[in-house]
Amino acid sequence: MPKESGEGRESALQRGWTVESRSDVNDQPDLATVSAPVEAQEAEAQNAVAQGTAAQETAAEGTEPATNELAESGQTAQLSNLTVVMLGLTGGIYMLYAWVWLSWAQFYAEGNAAAVEGSGSIGGFLQQIVFWIAPLAPILWFVSALIMHRRQPRKLALALILGCIVLLPLPMIFGNGAAQ
């Protein structure tokens, strides 16, 4: 009987010990089940990016149900991984654009400030504003597209690609920029 009670204590200790390990065990499978598909999807998305747009669409169709399952388990609806990759790529391009526009705005704003120094101040002031808001164009375009089409990845992709074309700093391609 004492042995049994001792065993009972040990088992009680073990039970106390295993409460924590059980919580770990309960957590770990969830992490494993969540992270493994995410990694698989990321690999799939990267492969799709390497293979081209046709493969991208199939990967997007493949990842959408998986992300829906993730979204069901989580509280908020998540962006698909392909959308996140696309946002990263276009975000980098837009940041480059903003930097190029900023360098040109600086160049022309200085020139313009020297040119209109003697003339009317309102025109010069507004012109300075118009110069300096040009670098904001890629940033605001990105934010607007993201807010407007967050739920529709295809429209979001269309808006972002259109922005890449419209806001492309052409003189950068033709080279010989004055303010490079």
Binding site: W104, I129, A134, W141, P171
Partner: protein, 100 residues
Amino acid sequence: MNAKLISAWIAGLAIVVLYVYATIAALGNFFGMSDIVRSALGLMPWTLLILQVVAPAIALAVALILSRGRSAGMRVLLLATGICAAAAIQLEIMHLILIS
């Protein structure tokens, strides 16, 4: 609600003033540079100058069309995006003309 609407209108009107100024400045560029451009060959500088004039109007129209039926804040954001894009295009055209 009312204060938000009024502030959105004020912000929107301030942005529209920038649209108007961008158009006027581009018109000034158009007439000011026409003497210089006339001596240059080709149709390209004229096209660029006209594009510089109509860019704010096109941007304003697109922003207003896209912001139909949306919230006041979204309208202001789209108007701001439009004038920024128009300003970028004007800056780009000026750069193209000057380096060509």
